[in-house]
Amino acid sequence: MSAVEPPSEVATRAGFAAVARRQVVVLSPTIHFRLRPGDRALVAPGDTVVPGLPIAERTPDARLVHVGRLAGPSRNSSHGADGEASPVEPTPAGNASSPASLEGDGRRPPLPGEWWAGGGERRRMWPRGKPTAPVGGTLLFESGGRWLAAAAARHQIVESPVAGIVREARNAVEVTIEATGAALTGALAAGEPSRGHLDVPRLADGELWASALDVGRSGAVVVAGSRISAQAISRARAVSIHGLVAGSVGQGDLRDFEASEMRQSASLVETIPFGLIALDGNARRPIPTPILTLLAALVGREVAIVTNPPLLVFDAAAVPLPDLPSDWIRVRSGQHAGREGRWLEPGGLRRFRSGIYLEAAVVRLGGDTEPTVVPVSDLERFTFQVQVP
């Protein structure tokens, strides 16, 4: 990755410092995978993960299960009388994995959050003639000597979309990974973390027609221009595209997508993880040219969409960052939203539309011959991370 941030005269000029700085790329981002009761981590803190490695097992239909009494350290039988259930299984992230919790005979007392698998021994609790599906999940708490668990028969494996080191792994709470590489920051994300090669169908910005998302792009993370529509999202999922990157996505489209995600996760069919990321937010804005340039440099490379926080993670090695003029600015909101240009000078306190007084900047936008006066608070400037050795 090349360095692009030489301290310049412009950057130190009065007024320019008041322009909001947009950190485009972050190095070694920390990403989170939220878990819920019934979900377990399959990794432990300090583990190294690679893309595709299972890191967690979700229990999407977890329900409350009365486990009964669990064998403690002094008991050896796994299936005791009186509804006694099987002992807990050790898991990499189990709360009782520390040596301090081991007692006497080496058996660990059951602890909240630990993985529990059972079901078969509870045959008599089912109506006669019904099959007894084994269930698995995490223990919740002990009440009156009997344990409750969040468990179900169906589980889903969560694979790591990135390479990195596990910083935290707690059943039913979360897995945190410090990713290797760099990431492009987004404003919002939806769906599931996913991975694929980056495809940029058109380098000029604009809305991508849903018809451009064909099966030839299957497995890709596609840069979809300034806006993603609900139709484009549906089509992308249908042709096994792994993710979409756009300038913005409307809240209505996001709601449709989330509803579709819920329906899919409720079905028994295993689905391919699909994520989407909006770089600017909800209101329609074109992708900034420095970011589009960076995305163009990443075409064909493996990238990952991460939803918490919203990031597009990529391998940091040898990605040329755009060489921007140090006075490059972009209008991020207001009348000229989406336009880019160069900073000229501070404009002092000015009266803007509706009689509102704001600090102003004089800028030259695009190919305009005349300078434009815009509120400083509507501007942003770009900063990229410095060189990674």
Partner: protein, 553 residues
């Protein structure tokens, strides 16, 4: 610190806006010398540097009088002059667990008034899995388990399981703090392995709260009911020198100094504040204060609900679909200073009004109180809006019959001054600064019970140098010119009996002027506007255009 200084830099570090002010001891009293507001991404020292540079350019003698010397190095002044700092505490999430729906609602009310974002459940409504999900959510910072002081059978039966659930959750999430309120405190031994248990009353504000069990009173304790628990939860949520609580403290001191009831409405990105302080007792030796600072009174709440969208649409003067409003609210949250002019300003006004509406709804007891003598607007959302439209917003939302004076904390000094710990010192500072802090917007006369017709009566305004008379028309807002600093007597003769100070037809009240003069609001109380969106928008637009003629520029 204050008694030894000649100058102070007052800073309100908000979530969206950083406000800086220079306070100087000049001519034997504290004065506001200059102030500035900037988006929070701008470096604080750079903001202060810019402010002091302007002071130096405008009035170098003033800077010298403040102790800067002739060849003052502004950077050195920024670094060395003492600071009064208040900051907005970040939003935090509490999981409320209770045995019954009734108890959950009480606990949630206290938590919401304390500024927490709340997720809640009860054993009566939810199973243990749902309650575990709430408490294990990684954004949750505190679990509040509460019961009546003497829990009834329905609650008592559920409490052992709930205590076991909370104890189990703390095993998975040792960073959590737990508050056991009311009768739930007896289950504190169940959490003994988790952390040190301390009565909430002995915990200092700003002390780290991870891994603690706090024992608190039940949700009905205090005056008004729930105030004791609210205070404890506020202490858990806030950073030291929290700006919002600072405003509430300043208002209490100001009410004592000015010897009149005062209310403040503050709307910010992370929430809002409605605080009221009223002197009581013979000779008014004490002040009774109450406040609520709900997080959902933010002008741009996170993940806006349908009710929030309805609220914004109800106050919007432009036709927009729901999704568009949601997009704009989300973008306003992301870029609170974005598009502060033109359409953006109109949208921000609608968002601010909707936030005030939520704030008012959250405190029905305060709405039932009499109109205060002084009503103050505060918060970054009002910083860029014209003063007249801020006055209109307050008149639109706080519809109580009476006469009051409207003002705005334009330099956002109430928060930093509230950070002064010693009460006497704070009062001395406020006594000097009261006139500088509160920019007068104008007087507001709001009668109730105006009947429809051609004329509601007449108003005669007698000032020191001039007198004027106007006809009062039902359903309108009449604006009478009365400049800031001027006082006058208003004689009102209504055609029918109305409610103002009491019930009657003739009233004579003292009013003070402001930037938008004297407002006589002859609209209904509560305000009745058509339910049809187009008619409603037209009505709002007509009132708004009268107060904000530049809106179409």
């Amino acid at each position: 610190m204050i008694s030894q200084s000649r100058v102070l830099l007052a800073l309100d570090l908000g979530s969206a806006t950083t406000s800086g002010a220079v306070l100087g001891h000049v001519g034997g009293r504290w004065r506001l010398i200059a102030h500035v507001a900037a988006p929070c991404h701008v470096d604080v020292d750079a903001t202060l540097f810019r402010l002091l540079t302007r002071v130096k350019l405008t009035d170098p003698k003033m800077l010298a009088e403040l102790g800067a010397g002739e060849a003052a190095d502004i950077r050195a002044l920024v670094a060395t002059w003492p600071r009064l700092v208040a900051r907005t505490s970040p939003r935090r999430l509490v999981a409320v667990l209770a045995g019954s729906r009734r108890q959950r609602r009480r606990l949630e009310t206290s938590a919401l008034r304390a500024g927490w974002l709340v997720v809640g459940g009860s054993a009566e409504e939810d199973d243990h899995l749902a309650l575990s999900r709430l408490a294990l959510t990684s954004e949750v910072g505190v679990v509040l388990l509460g019961a009546d002081r003497d829990p009834g059978g329905d609650e008592r039966r559920q409490l052992p399981d709930l205590a076991a659930l909370v104890a189990a959750v703390t095993r998975s999430r040792p960073e959590l703090s737990v508050v056991l309120a009311g009768g739930a405190a007896v289950y504190e031994p169940a959490l003994a392995a988790f952390g040190e248990s301390i009565p909430a009353s002995v915990r200092a504000v700003g002390q780290p709260v991870c891994g603690q069990v706090l024992l608190a009173p039940d949700a009905e304790a205090g005056n008004p009911p729930g105030a004791s628990l609210q205070e404890i939860l506020e202490g858990l949520r806030t950073l030291p020198n929290d700006s919002r609580l600072g405003v509430a403290r300043s208002i209490a001191s100001l009410a004592q100094i000015l010897d009149r009831p005062i209310e403040v409405l503050e709307i910010g990105l992370q929430g809002g504040l409605w605080s009221r302080s009223e002197p009581v007792g013979l000779g008014h030796p004490a002040v009774v204060s109450s406040h609520a600072c709900p997080a959902d009174a933010s002008f741009a709440p996170d993940n806006p609900s349908e009710e929030v969208i309805d609220g914004v649409l109800a106050w919007s003067t432009t036709a927009q679909d729901r999704h568009r409003v949601m997009d704009r609210l989300n973008d306003l949250r992301r870029l609170p200073w974005g598009e502060a002019d033109g359409d953006g300003a109109v949208f921000r006004l609608a968002a601010a009004k909707a936030a005030i509406g939520r704030l008012v709804e959250s405190s029905p007891a305060m709405l039932a109180s009499s109109v205060p003598e002084c009503l103050i607007a505060a918060g970054g959302i009002f910083a860029a809006l014209p003063p007249s439209i801020v006055a209109l917003a307050m008149a639109d939302l706080l519809r109580r019959p009476g006469v009051c004076h409207l003002a705005i904390d334009h330099a956002r000094l109430l928060g930093p001054i509230g950070a002064v710990e010693e009460e006497q010192e704070r009062r001395r500072l406020l006594a000097d600064l009261a006139e500088d802090i509160l920019l007068p917007l104008g007087g507001l006369i709001l009668p109730a019970g105006i009947k429809v017709g051609r004329s509601a009566g007449r108003l005669r305004l007698k000032g020191a140098t001039a007198a004027s008379e106007i006809e009062l028309h039902p359903g309108t807002i009449e604006v009478v010119d009365l400049p800031p600093g001027r006082a006058a007597r208003a004689d009102l003769d209504f055609r029918d009996a109305v409610k103002l100070a009491g019930r009657g037809r003739h009233f004579s009240v003292d009013v003070r002027g402001g930037l938008c003069g004297l407002l006589v609001d002859l609209r209904d109380i509560p305000m009745r506007i058509s339910d049809r969106p187009e008619s409603r928008r037209l009505a709002l637009e007509a009132w708004q255009r009268g107060m904000w003629p530049e809106v179409d520029e």
